[in-house]
Amino acid sequence: MSLKILIVDQDSGRSAILEQALSDAGHTVVARLRSERDLASKVAEYRPDVVIIDMEAPGRDTLEQMREVSRDNPRPIVLFSNQRDPEYIRQAVQAGVSAYVVDGLQKERVLPIVEVAMARFREFQALRRELEETRSRLQERKIIEKAKGILMQRRGLSEDAAYQLMRKMAMDRNLRLVEVARTLLALEDLV
């Protein structure tokens, strides 16, 4: 049976993918919120069965309070980790997912939803890491190229000779090539 899910995530790309996955599993995503402003009212308005929220969202504390206040929201919310399964909580924490569910909802119905969210969040983490690595490799390439250009200019070296010189400096000093390049650029700034 379909459950009503509210997703709170600043990353709209990630929440769109999660929405798709949850819809494919037969659930209804009642809303995707990027902003956490006035979260208590939004939850009262959408009355979700499950709230999936980015672990790093400050609005989590608002949801914690809603468990206690039945007047604002007639359907109290409970953290899924009420199951007291420490390994499961650890995995969720590491994936960056937290989930709040309506009290009384059976564990078997909620866990698959949380697992879908954890899988999507992990994929996103991996993608983000890859992107960062690519970015930093590109950045390093640029620094090395710039340092090489300076060596060629200052010492009248060919491109290959400049590159070999930097490599030798790096090996002699047990440094990475980019570190040598950074030092050369820093020295250039001093001159």
Binding site: T62, E64, R67
Partner: protein, 439 residues
């Protein structure tokens, strides 16, 4: 960065870093002025002095702090003083035995309201509003006038926080039922001022710098400080989970010693400006240094059109035995958890308090540093209107006032009688059952 050179390293607990079970630690904090003991221990090299290599991790919610300490993602953290109790009892969904071996500070919060609500209160009860400290009688008159009941919303920062309990205490002391007459919600501290401006809430109880920030921005006025609700009330603690503490006894002692040194440094008035400057950095509180400095330097401004006034005890980090984890403080929090229905089953109050607040671990660290500390684990509250001396074996310790705004007393030997006296409550446990369970 100001650091004590590694060469000056002084043998930590049990003979230097060799005795430490773990030297690389990650400690969590929330960007608030009172995370300062962790920041100072890091930036002035006290952690390093005891052989610890600490990474401070800025966290975005108290729920995160709780979950990450419970699962071991963080080794320890800056915690709301009632949080280790709530986590041990599993009140917030996560149940994990958690301890408070050291307190981080006393006081430091305030209740701020919108300018609009302030004018309505002045209109409703000019005489009540002229009293100092301000009580909530004007607010009671306003919510009692029919239409207003239930339409005002106040925010605090977490269900198990001194902010939440002291806000409720202050409201109820004036005859307001916080669940019936008002709406209470939780908003992350950095969003408080924006929510007040957007009229999503009429007021809030939060720690610094978020009250002085509202005043500086002209978004609100401070009605009362938490010091005025309960003089020198417990505020934050350093918390770790019990399993971690048992697996890392020497590391924990080293941490406590570093934090005790930091607390002493911060409490010296001449160091407060430097501490505020460290705190205001983007990696920590990330707020204008002028705003952070205000409360840290012992001054407080209630409203934009009033001058700042001296309030030297607004933040207390070491004096008055501020770092001592009083079991009576834990017991007071437990009474409020029962009073407001968070504790829904009878529990053995004393046993919970003894398991969570750990003065035994504190004394071990204090003695290693030859610091005087209380011999007793509990003290009565609401007894002293002015400074007093606590007798300890080696002499006396200077203590601050401990009055409640309504003049009542809390006797830690009789929490049941204390609970029975509250007219306004949401108790779910019968006091007879609680007494039987606690006996």
């Amino acid at each position: 960065m100001v650091t004590v050179a590694a060469a000056e390293q002084h043998p930590g607990y049990a003979g230097g870093s060799e005795g430490l079970e773990k030297t690389r630690l990650v400690l969590g904090f929330i960007p608030l002025t009172d995370c300062v003991p962790l920041v100072v221990a890091q930036e002035r090299g006290y952690f390093g002095k005891y052989g610890l290599e600490v990474t401070l991790s800025r966290e975005s919610s108290w729920a995160n702090i709780r979950d990450k300490v419970a699962t071991g993602v963080l080794d320890g953290a800056h915690m709301l003083a009632p949080m280790p109790i709530a986590t041990t009892l599993g009140l917030g969904g996560v149940r994990k035995a958690t301890i408070a071996p050291l307190a981080l500070d006393l006081n430091g919060n305030a209740i701020t309201i919108s300018g609009d609500l302030h004018s309505r209160l002045e209109h409703a009860d000019p005489r009540g509003m002229a009293q100092r400290p301000v009580n909530a009688t004007a607010l009671r008159r306003l919510v009692g006038e029919g239409g207003e009941a239930g339409s005002l919303r106040f925010a605090s920062v977490f269900p198990s926080s001194s902010h939440h309990y002291l806000l409720r205490y202050w409201l109820a002391a004036a005859g307001i039922d916080p669940d019936r007459d008002l709406g209470l919600t939780v908003i992350p501290p950095p969003q408080m001022v924006a929510s007040l401006r957007a009229r999503e809430i009429s007021g809030y109880c939060v720690g610094e710098p978020w009250n002085e920030y509202a005043v500086a921005q002209g978004a609100g006025r401070v009605l009362t400080t938490s010091y005025e609700i309960w003089n020198n009330h417990p505020e934050k603690v350093f918390g770790v989970n019990l399993e971690w503490a048992e697996a890392h006894p020497n590391t924990l002692q080293a941490l406590l010693m570093a934090l005790l040194e930091a607390a002493q440094w911060i409490d010296r008035p001449e160091n407060r400006i430097e501490a505020a400057t460290l705190l205001s950095r983007p990696a920590y509180v990330n707020a204008p240094v002028e705003v952070v400095k205000r409360s840290m330097s012992g001054f407080f401004q209630y409203a934009a059109d009033e001058p700042a006034v001296p309030l030297p005890d607004f933040h207390v980090f070491y004096r008055y035995a501020a770092t001592f984890p009083w079991r009576s403080h834990a017991l007071w929090f437990l009474t409020q958890m029962v009073r407001w229905g968070q504790v829904a089953e009878p529990i053995p109050l004393e046993r919970v308090v003894e398991a969570v607040y750990r003065p035994d671990l504190y004394r071990q660290a204090a003695r290693a540093l030859r610091l005087p500390c209380p011999d007793t684990d509990a003290k009565a509250e609401g007894i002293h209107a002015g400074p007093w001396e606590l007798e300890i074996g080696s002499g006396t310790l200077p203590m601050g006032p401990d009055r409640f705004c309504d003049g009542t007393r809390f006797d830690p030997n009789d929490p049941i009688a204390y609970l029975a006296d509250f007219q306004i409550h949401r108790r779910k446990v019968r006091l007879e059952d609680l007494a039987r369970c606690s006996a």
